[in-house]
């Protein structure tokens, strides 16, 4: 999607290894979010950021950490990947309250 890119698009990793997913925006939006999408669960919030170095947990944050050192970049790290973290991960950006999200194209992560 225009203004927001995720990398990598696909990744296969082994159980126990650390993994970092990157979200990059060119829209200068204050708010950034990481969601995971799983069948039957919709989209669930992992972590979000409301400014540089300002982050907070979502509903499924265990096993994940995030960092935002610049407005444009929001990194999601799986500290020690497990099979339950096999999922499609979406980054989203927003201007703020009661504004819609713009989503990236997603990263399909498989933990074997």
């Amino acid at each position: 999607d225009a203004g927001i890119t995720q990398s990598p698009r696909h990744k296969v990793t082994e159980t126990g290894t650390p993994v970092t997913l990157r979200c990059h925006q060119t829209e200068n939006h204050r708010y950034m979010y990481w969601y995971r999408q799983d069948p039957g669960h919709g989209l669930r919030l992992i972590h979000y950021s409301y400014g540089v170095k300002d982050t907070d947990k979502g509903e499924v944050s265990d096993g994940y950490s995030v960092s935002r050192s610049k407005t444009e970049d929001f990194l999601l790290t799986l500290e020690s990947a497990t099979s339950s973290q096999t999922s499609v991960y979406f980054c989203a950006i927003s201007l703020g309250q009661n504004y819609g999200y713009t989503f990236g194209s997603g990263t399909r992560l498989t933990v074997v």
Partner: protein
């Protein structure tokens, strides 16, 4: 804790028919209700949204109906087309402070198939 319940899980409609997807929420502090459309291999895209001060919003063939007292809202797709075949998500958020922005809680999604 699932705060937004969406139904049905899947829906098959004939071309030209009306597609209806329903959502119910629990948190009375929610005040923004968007719908997202997702095609395979793509991220969700904002389709239409409503705030609780109105009971209906229409954009082209897409209409949101909102019932505040019942804590329910629904998406109606009129004259459904094969190109509408996608996954649809309802969502909700409330004004919970500047630091949380518009934290959206999503429904489970509905897989819509429109047969030609």
């Amino acid at each position: 804790q699932q705060q937004v319940k969406q139904s049905p899980q899947s829906l098959i409609v004939q071309k030209g028919g009306i597609s209806i997807i329903n959502c119910a929420y629990e948190n009375t502090a929610f005040d923004y209700f968007p719908w997202y459309q997702q095609f395979p291999g793509k991220g969700p895209a904002l389709l239409i949204a409503i705030r609780p001060d109105v009971s209906e919003k229409k954009e082209g063939r897409f209409t949101i109906s909102f019932n505040k007292s019942a804590k329910q809202f629904s998406l109606h797709i009129m004259d459904s087309q094969p190109g509408d075949s996608a996954t649809y998500f309802c969502a909700a958020s409330g004004s919970s402070g500047e630091t949380s922005g518009s934290r959206l809680t999503f429904g489970e999604g509905t897989q819509l198939t429109v047969n030609p």
